[in-house]
């Protein structure tokens, strides 16, 4: 009885202090916004009074200055510095030439990392885009299509950490004979597999199980974008083809696919970029153990767990070089598409 009382008594103040803490923090945060906007308004008021030939330079300085300063400090300078650091040792006090790059391409453990990353890069975008395309074609004429689309698209709103936890629970495994609490193990058991493996530990299967999470997240994105592209095909084009006798798969392969080719490529590369940079899924589900490490997570581990700034920077540069052509291509395509519209 005293024990229960103690719990009740301690839960009260704790909860109360949690609310006080919340009030202070949110107050600070709103205060920061108010301060920021207040200072801005004051500067606007002061600078707005300037007339004559100072008015324009002053406007440019006040309005463009903050963005340029932040970009120089936050992106441009760090970009140069990371490249520079990649030629230095762990503590950045001795130049090591190309030794970090040599390490990245010759060490066995990093080989696994690069191979896994390549696997992610091929499997996740192709599966998500293929599935998304199939769904986009199939869902359109169904009743309650909005419901199906929303539910498939929903994982996109969830954090990758959340997605990782959701699926880690699906893959949860218990020893043989015990009741399973993970959905996948239970499915395996009810299909007659008496002792299913511990999914997360079984290599190389576990890599595919982690990739499945990325597919789960990205399929809805592919579906929504491709669905919009299919709707945008001009009616005359399909009508002409139909008059020429094209039906079914022929119509799909010779009309739909060429008309949405650009969008398919943009979706593929976009999912590739996300896949390359995402480290959350692997970090949440395996921590990079059991042969599942990928480049983005290894970069984080080298930089902030091993504190090897040189190697971490090297991996960041490799990641950058891998992403660069994809993003550049994507931006050009998106721009072209926007201009033709």
């Amino acid at each position: 009885m005293p024990a229960t009382l103690h719990v009740v008594a301690s839960a009260g103040p704790l909860a109360a202090s949690a609310w006080t803490d919340a009030g202070i923090k949110l107050g600070n945060s709103l205060g920061a916004i108010a301060g920021f906007l207040g200072i801005l308004l004051l500067i606007f008021f002061a600078a707005g009074r300037a007339t004559g030939r100072f008015a324009k330079p002053l406007a440019v300085l006040v309005m463009l200055g903050p963005a340029i300063l932040l970009l120089l400090v936050g992106l441009v300078a760090p970009l140069v510095r990371t490249v520079f650091l990649s030629f230095y040792n762990a503590d950045s006090d001795r130049s090591v030439g190309l030794r970090n790059y040599d390490w990245a391409f010759t060490t066995d453990s990093i080989h696994t990392v690069l191979l896994n990353t390549a696997l992610w890069l091929v499997v996740a975008p192709l599966t998500a885009t293929g599935l998304g395309l199939a769904l986009a074609l199939l869902v359109e004429r169904m009743r309650w299509q909005g419901l199906y689309k929303s539910l498939i698209f929903l994982p996109m709103a969830v954090s990758l950490v959340g997605a990782g936890i959701i699926w880690k629970f699906v893959y949860e495994s218990r020893g043989a004979g015990q009741p399973q609490i993970g959905l996948l193990s239970q499915l395996a058991v009810s299909l007659g597999w008496e002792d299913p493996p511990n999914w997360i530990l079984s290599q190389p299967l576990n890599n595919f199980l982690l990739i499945a999470v990325m597919v789960w997240v990205q399929t809805g994105f592919a579906m929504v974008v491709l669905s919009a592209a299919i709707k945008a095909i001009p009616d005359e084009v399909t009508e002409a083809a139909r008059l020429d006798g094209a039906r079914g798969m022929r119509l799909f392969w010779f009309i739909t696919v060429p008309m949405i080719r650009t969008t398919v490529v943009v979706v593929l590369t976009t999912v590739m970029i996300t896949t390359l940079k995402a480290f959350d899924i692997v970090r949440t589900m395996t921590g990079g153990n059991f042969g599942t490490q990928v480049l983005a997570n290894e970069m984080y581990a080298q930089s902030f767990t091993q504190f090897d700034v040189g190697r971490g920077s090297t991996l960041a540069v490799i990641l950058f070089l891998a992403v660069l052509p994809l993003v550049a291509y994507n931006i050009v395509q998106l721009r072209k598409e926007r201009e033709t519209r």
């Binding site: 600070n28 920021f36 929903l154 084009v237």
Partner: protein
């Protein structure tokens, strides 16, 4: 018959519909399992699968109370401080880049000066830089300041234990995309309107505040939703710049820690995870159209 309908018709059929329904069910079940588990008593969760709720419906809310206020994960105050941190990080980290980028976009579009096209192109091109390239130098800058030779350019400021590094980092990383998107919109505003305002003697600041901002609300809303969800769901920036303490770390950081070390307490982990999903899900269902628009535009960010 509509042309695009013709294509789709040739694909529809009972098998096609069945496929869509199967995928939808497969896509929904894992999240539903998470929700169901978070509502079941500890003992039940540890010994039986969540699908037992259909036969033995016994649902409770106490897991949420436990995970929010009592913890049981080695932190006495539970998840509550982290949830508050998520909010306290996300709101300013959405407002700051939004305002700064809107000003920059206006200046680049309507206060023409020599080199403004070049500046716009460089900002636009900075979208290709992955976050990872900036993490180490930026962290060093926040903790040690910037020095060139013996000269201190930016002094070290002790920002640890505050939200400032996270806000700053998110603001910096959001600017290329935000400026690009808002520039697309702001540069399309009618030229006559701008010229008339200048004729009336309005300063650029006045035009920006009383004409540009009200007119580009839809673009601002799209980007705000995208950025808010991006920051709310982010792990990389938070992990690097906020550390793992209840003072500043957001929910994603805490959940990633728990997932690694306390995988066994599923009733608490699922409750915590679902708490972190509530706000994105509300935003998703309430503002789906803006959300999709922002997402399409921002798909190469990061």
């Amino acid at each position: 018959m509509k042309g695009s309908t013709a294509v789709r018709r040739s694909f529809s059929g009972p098998l096609g519909s069945l496929f869509v329904i199967v995928v939808t069910v497969l896509w929904t079940i894992p999240t539903f399992g998470l929700l169901a588990t978070s509502l079941r008593p500890k003992q039940e969760v540890a010994t039986t699968g969540w699908w037992e709720v259909f036969t033995h419906p016994e649902l409770i809310l106490s897991n949420y109370h436990t995970v929010l206020f009592e913890g049981g994960f080695g932190v006495s105050a539970g998840m509550m401080p982290f949830l508050v941190n998520s909010l306290a990080i996300s709101v300013p980290a959405t407002v700051f880049p939004l305002v700064i980028a809107a000003m920059a976009a206006y200046a680049l579009a309507w206060v023409r000066f020599r080199g403004s096209d070049t500046v716009f192109f460089v900002i636009f091109a900075l979208q290709v830089v992955p976050l990872q390239m900036a993490l180490i130098p930026l962290l060093q800058l926040f903790s040690g300041g910037a020095h060139l030779g013996g000269l201190t350019i930016i002094p070290a400021v002790d920002l640890s234990g505050t939200y400032a590094p996270v806000w700053l980092a998110h603001t910096m990383f959001a600017l290329p995309l935000a400026t690009f998107l808002l520039h697309n919109f702001i540069s399309q505003l009618p030229r006559d309107l701008m010229e008339a305002a200048i004729m009336d003697g309005a300063s650029h600041f006045k035009i920006f505040r009383s004409i540009v901002l009200p007119l580009c609300t839809p673009a601002l809303a799209s980007f705000a939703i995208f950025e808010f969800l991006w920051v709310w769901n982010d792990l990389l920036v938070a992990l690097t710049f906020a550390g793992g303490t209840p003072e500043v770390a957001p929910m994603t950081v805490r959940l990633a820690q728990l997932s690694g070390s306390f995988g066994g307490r599923w009733e608490l982990l699922t409750a915590g995870a679902f708490l972190s999903l509530i706000i994105p899900l509300i935003v998703f269902f309430a503002l789906q159209r803006y959300f999709v628009r922002g997402l399409l535009a921002g798909s190469v960010k990061g």
